[in-house]
Subunit: 579 residues, 2 copies
Amino acid sequence: MYMIAGAGLTTHETAMLLLSLGILLGTARLLGETARRLGQPAVLGELLAGILLGPTVLGTISPDLFAWLFTDSHAARIALDGYILISVVLLLLISGLEIELTTAYRQGKAALIIAMTGMLLPFTIGSALGWQFPTAFGPLGSAYQPLAFAIFLGIALSITALPVIAKVLMDLNIFKSDLGMLIMSAAMFNDLAGWLGFAVVMALINPGENGGASIGGTLLLTMGFLAGVMTIGRWLTHRALVFIQAYGSWPGGVIGFVLVVALLCAAATEAIGIHSILGAFFAGIVIGDSKHLRQRTRETIHQFIANIFAPVFFAGIGLTVNFVAAFNPLVVLLAVLVACLGKVAGCYVGSKWAGLGRRDSLAVSSGMLAQGTMGIILGQLALTAELITQELFVAIVFVALLSTVISGPAIQRVLQRGQKRSLGDLLTEDRFVSVMKSLGARAAIRELSSALGPDSPVEADAVFESVWKREQTMRTGLGDGLAIPHARLAGLEKTIVIIGRSPHGVDFDAADGNPAHLICMLLTPLDDQDSQLEVLRLIAECFHDPARRSAALNAGTYTEFLAAIKLPGADSHGGMAHE
Amino acid sequence: MYMIAGAGLTTHETAMLLLSLGILLGTARLLGETARRLGQPAVLGELLAGILLGPTVLGTISPDLFAWLFTDSHAARIALDGYILISVVLLLLISGLEIELTTAYRQGKAALIIAMTGMLLPFTIGSALGWQFPTAFGPLGSAYQPLAFAIFLGIALSITALPVIAKVLMDLNIFKSDLGMLIMSAAMFNDLAGWLGFAVVMALINPGENGGASIGGTLLLTMGFLAGVMTIGRWLTHRALVFIQAYGSWPGGVIGFVLVVALLCAAATEAIGIHSILGAFFAGIVIGDSKHLRQRTRETIHQFIANIFAPVFFAGIGLTVNFVAAFNPLVVLLAVLVACLGKVAGCYVGSKWAGLGRRDSLAVSSGMLAQGTMGIILGQLALTAELITQELFVAIVFVALLSTVISGPAIQRVLQRGQKRSLGDLLTEDRFVSVMKSLGARAAIRELSSALGPDSPVEADAVFESVWKREQTMRTGLGDGLAIPHARLAGLEKTIVIIGRSPHGVDFDAADGNPAHLICMLLTPLDDQDSQLEVLRLIAECFHDPARRSAALNAGTYTEFLAAIKLPGADSHGGMAHE
């Protein structure tokens, strides 16, 4: 008889699997969130979690504890590997879902040119160096093959990271602009070309693994698979999605369908001899391309994979490599130079060629720079296949992280746009008056002014005078229990928001006649027109939602208040981009 | 060095893992959706998928194919077992999330009495029979122990299935009624008692497995774990949720936190010597109890686990057992009698005792009958532990399915309430006129009447006369391009809806002056007042949403039209219950 759920795993193995998975996921999520708070992509923290738990740190400090957690139990380790495998397959599924062929196609020639030049330059330099001087990138892998290595190196140094780019553009609020769509489309073409090239690399190093197909045979099978997926597969998917939404449960039916298609395509490409993740990637493209996949379903899939599977994969990478021992500064420097300079120069030339101005060309180049997740996945596969060694892998991880970290600030600088702020970013605990005592508007403004504290760049009295003067020319009660007294002040460098709650209510002369229970005092620099309008709008939007308003009024602590104002409104969606 | 993602699994093993998982999940989802379409719980179809793919059917028809898919590759099988293990852990997590201690507590004594009597009767009979005549339930397991077996049998025959009950009550639209909350609360107490009892069983059969703790030691550790989780754990969870929502990403931060807590608690209970799923269950209770876990987050977690993990677990059961070979009619009959009669009688007595009337008592008894998923999980664990043999396991699965299938119709019959209908249930393809030709209301009504077809119980001419007569007394244009001409007809047994789309527009004299583009003709039986109002309301609600209306007007085929009217509105949520 065939036993499941426990028969393959003893009690001890079960406990170890759950424990190692829990610790891996927990640490990765914690550091991922921390990275995000610091304005960095989550993948940075997730990789760091693996480095901390792996041979680099824990394995050096306490080899016994590391071995107990991650390597002693063979069966638990195989099961963990299986989970990590499914994670990377699903990660490529959502990368594929983000590629919108129709959008990319519509941007047409310009995107194609930029993708081509941006890829060709680092690819040519990378693969020429890899072909001519392979040992410049560290010792050769045990499965080293000149051609496969050269192509791999070219791709690894020229691929972009679609999810990271999407996130950067969204943060700057230019995702839907012409420039944003151009960058996204170019990155999509780049991704597509990169993964197709990688399929060639896999075919070169895996020939004959499954029943003796030659390199040509594997490539032929790959092309057959792609052609089938893009024609019949696409048609069937489209039909199936409509059918499932008409007759199945929602969104469960669709989620199940998407995952099953991804798993089966992954199994197919793995059997062909190119990696399983390629199948999942193309499944994602085909499914994402159908207009019948709804936004809400996309988000549910995205949230789960990005938060439950992806962190385990990235943290898992840290378990495999000692990042200190394998760090070779020369290799890292060479890789960084080729990847970053090559990409920026290539994209700049392409953008100018496509007719863009200097500023836009620079913006495109900075945006396309981010290599992020894709470079790391590629390196991981090559390392596992022993095509490369740890030295080069560490350099690739470094390139990916560095390019990701500088891409955002670079594009921000070029376009001179600030990141979208949220109200929460502007608040601090000491500028939150939980229960105000004042009964009138004048007293209330004085009470909030005095919450500025001693280390404020402006005097409480000066603040009071300015805000009260402004209040007298125009009363700031907005109705619905909200008032936003405000002023622009000389000597202020950045925006200050002080929030007070008045259970009794303060009359700020609102049009609806209701007293204000939430009073947000807003102080902005004198020479900065935009900030005042922007933050006024942020505050008004935030408290427009009745549920959020009432949660904010009833929150017991400052932390609960912060949680309350981040409550999603009826119209809002969860974030889409992975980082 | 320690390799992940592929190093533990060869190319062949990777392909087999993805293929077997894809086929298992795909078949389970397909049959699960089919069961749902037929008004049955999804778990029925999911189990059937496993029976088809397992030794019962596929293994009998083609043992080679079965072995190739599921047992030949040892490493792939261990990885699949790991996935199934994580699935059942997460399944218990969402079961725990559904338990609301505060709600249950508020219902107080009545719920407690019903839970107690409803559990005590089948438990006493079951465990007495199990103690006295263990062989009446098939051959003894290799790890048979009289006391553990008796307690197990009592619990297995007396546990209820909270998610199934929730689904039944929601379908009947009485979930939020007093009676609904009473049934839910009683079921929660029942579940809680059942799982605590099961912890005792696990402690009895696993003593000393981990470092030699005795039965007493295991129970002591269990109580310590529970006390810790319910006090410090609860306090910490509450704090952590607020903190994560204030400073973390949403809903990603919360989803990650919930899963990590579940995995670590599962590892802890597994290490104690009671099963890992108990830890996940209690983690779910503690987390679900916090008012800081938002509805939308709950739903995302629920959707993913119910659609991606749970089906694999239930289908996996079919892979372990030959349901034909192990089917023993006498054992099945005995188990059904004790479980169903005992539960119904016990709950009826308890309800009367708690002061309920006859009809309500019957409704409570029918509702509490459903054993569904919980009984099966329990049986699976006992089978794996070899406390029971396949004969009894098959009987338990049978009890679970039968009680689940009859619970819904029984409560429906007692309360004489119909299931909530959706508009989609009332439509058929031949009563859908994709492009209407008529330009006036009279012609439009005639055109839709003739779509009734030859096998209609009423004549097209008679329908036209009645609807047109009604139309002349009161015009049925509702505005927003929607008109609902209707009539009540003698000789009609059930409601008929005919839908036509007019690109040109037909004037139905709407208050907003706009012509109707969507014309829904509604025919109801003469003696049925309620149906007309109910369906009028359904139609109006459905097309009130502008996005849904426009999607319905632009749908190319009937299937696309159906998918369009199931498009969620801005205010709607995904379904919550698992089945």
